[in-house]
Structures are given as C-alpha cells and as structure tokens.
Amino acid sequence: MRKIGQLKGVLALAAAALLLTGLAGFQDAAAYFTTYVSAGGSEIVRMGSQTELIEDVTNMTKHISILNTSQTNDCYVRVKIFHGSQLDVTCSDASGRGNLWHFSREDGYWYYEPMVGPGAATEILDAKIGGLPPDFDRDSFNVVVIQECTPVVYDEAGNPTADWNTVYSDYRETGGEGDFRE
C-alpha cells in the first residue's frame, strides 16, 4: 500500500514536470504576431469552332463564303481552291471593301482578314471558272473549296491575330486515370 502511494507521488511529480515543460514551450510558440489573408479566382476557357462553307454558283462563278456557326467563339478562316488543270479559275474579292480576302503565293490559301464572330459570315470570294472548251459540261465541273478555321490569339503587342502554324495533335477521349487529381 505504501509502495502504491509512493508511485502515485512520483507520477504526480512527473506529470507536473511535463506540464511545466509544455507551458515553457508554449510561451515561445505564441510569442510572434502574425496575420494572413487569401483570395482566389478562376475563369473557364471556352474553345471549339464550327464553320460551314457556303457556295453558290451563277454564270460559272462560285460565290464562296464561310459561316461561323459557333455560338461563342470568334475565329479566323481561310480557303484553298483545287481544280483540274484544264480549267482556268480566277479568284477575286467580291466584298464591299474589296480588300478583305488576301491570296498567299507561299501556301496557295486565300485568307479572310477580319475575325469572324459567332453567327457571322465572311463576305464573298468569287471563283470564276473560265477557259472552258466548247463541249464542256457546265453542269458538272470539279472545283473543290477547302475551308479551315483557327481560334483568335493575340500577338505580343496585344493585337488579335491568327496562328496558322499550330499543328493540331489528335486526341482521344480517354478519361483515364492520371488526368485528374482530387
């Protein structure tokens, strides 16, 4: 019984020593004045485009226009015209200003200068088909128009521009592990 009493006494002393040691440490930890603030923000990046090629033919001339059918995104467009060597196709800017379509000898594309807003269409580029032999079937000729679009980016000066050098890499919807982190 006496031994138990002694043990209790030792334990009480040890507990007191621990408490005092803890308090001594707490004094140091609580000694500095600090404060903090935080803030955060986010923005969704919307991408995606859909364009439709509109072609009307009158008097052996294709009237070409591109309609931006996207609901949200501006884009830049360009077209390239392919035809057989027996045909003589001459393109001309039929826009009101007359200088919105520009031909590049380097790559053979016709570039539409202004950006095309959602729901808007380019002005007309005419492709006149000439040099036709007398027996040419005017209801069946092969002049193919290829259209491309690219999203609006900005240059270092802050001006909107088109980056036609972007090489798109295909992707697959994997949804696999590793894409996300909680």
């Binding site: 600090t34 903090y36 935080s38 919307r46 859909q50 679009c149």
Partner: protein, 241 residues
C-alpha cells in the same frame, strides 16, 4: 537510503525546472512589459491583398479582435480574384495579356515582413487537372528586385518574400502585374468534316484556370526567429531582412 537519494534527486530536478520556468516567465514579462509601455498598439498587426488597386481581402487585429473583410458577399474569409478580368460580354482570348496587378498593403499599425504564395492550376468539373501545365497560366511576376523567389518553388506554387520591412500603412510594389493564357492550350483538337461543315473540338474545352494567393505577415521584432517560426525559412539566407 537509496529511496531518500531518489526522492532528493527528483525534488531537486523539479525545483530546477520550476526555477528555470519562473526565470523565463519573469524574462517574458519584463520583455513584454517594456514593449507594451513603449508601443501601446503593438498587437495591431494587419495585412491586405489588393488587385488592381482594390482591396480584395484584409485581416487586421483591432480593438482586441480580428477584423476580416473581403470583396465577396456572404462573409467568406477569402477574397475573389479575376472578377473583372473580362469586360461584360468579352471572351477570354489566348496569348492576350490581361492586367492583373497584385500588391500587398500593411493595414496594421506595426511594421511587418510579408510573404506571398501564388498557386496556379487547372480544373475540369471541379477536379484538378494534372495533364495541363500550370505554366500555361502565364503570370507575369514583376519587381523581382523587391520580391525574392523561394528557389524551391514548384510549377504550381510560387513563393515570394518581400525584401525588407513593409512599414505600417505602406503598399508593396506589384508581385504580379499580368496574366496570359498560352494558346498552346488549344493545340490538341479533333477536326471533323461533315459535308460543308467543319467542326473543331478541343481537348481542353471547358477547363478552368485558377489563380489563388495567400499572404502572410509577421512582426519585425526579433524577425529572424519570428520568420523561422512562422514560415520555416532562414530569412537571412534568403536576403529578405
């Protein structure tokens, strides 16, 4: 006899411990008493984060309580950034440099040292996206002569220390002055042609970029130890004292 020695040693140990604690307490009391008399407002530390000149979040100790205010409705403890990044009807454009001037103001009554942590990351549907590089969220870190970068930063978190003391009432130079989303985010796309309609679907359409900022301030008194205790870094080694 042995028991007596044991009890004697234990009593001596407790007496020594008590003595040392009282000594510390007395020293601390003296230490604080002197400062308290000299600077009645010693405890009024405060800090504010500003975005383009407007306070978005502040936390100041005043009249024995913490006063927290933010630009968010609903009493959130955290402020809102990027609210005015785009004008009404404006769409986010790639590679365009948007003004995002972030500064810190000492809104307390004592001088402080200041640290900021800037986080940038991508999410989709509320989940963090790890396949898009945080570097595509191009924050322009400014005034690098005044803001010292922690060399051990990660791609997601940049830690900056303001060099020197930020006096009460003063505002720092901007640590960030612009943000730009790199057009490379649109480099993966599937292009589908259906008749005369061409549809381009981008892999990262609908992702969300985030910029989060944490600002910490600490007293200048006993700065080396205070900074070590609060931030865990060697202030002298970083050259911020």
């Amino acid at each position: 006899m042995r028991k007596k020695i044991t009890w004697g040693m234990l009593a001596l140990a407790v007496a020594l411990l008590l003595g040392s604690t009282i000594g510390s307490t007395r020293a601390a009391l003296t230490y604080y008493s002197e400062n308290y008399v000299a600077e009645i407002t010693v405890s009024q530390i405060g800090v504010s984060l500003l975005e383009n000149g407007e306070v978005v979040s502040s936390r100041d100790y005043d009249e024995n309580e913490w006063k927290v205010s933010t630009n968010q409705e609903g009493g959130s403890g955290s402020g809102a950034l990027l609210k005015d990044l785009l004008k009404e009807g404006e769409k986010l454009a790639f590679n365009k440099r948007y003004e995002e001037r972030l500064t810190v103001k000492n809104s307390g009554t004592i001088d402080t040292y200041v640290r900021v942590r800037v986080y940038r990351y991508w999410t989709r549907d509320g989940r963090k996206l790890t396949t898009l590089s945080p570097d595509l969220i191009d924050l322009n870190f400014a005034n690098e002569d005044k803001w010292v970068k922690n060399p051990e930063q990660t791609a997601e978190c940049t830690e900056l220390f303001y060099k020197g003391i930020l006096p009460s009432g003063q505002e720092t130079e901007a640590f960030v002055d612009g943000v730009r989303i790199d057009g490379a985010v649109a480099s993966e796309a599937a292009i589908e042609t259906n008749g005369n309609v061409v549809t381009t679907t981008y892999k990262y359409d609908g992702v969300e970029f985030h910029v989060d900022v944490e600002v910490d301030a600490v007293q200048t008194h006993n700065a080396q130890e205070a900074i070590k205790s609060a931030w865990g870094v060697d202030a002298s080694g970083l050259g911020i004292l």
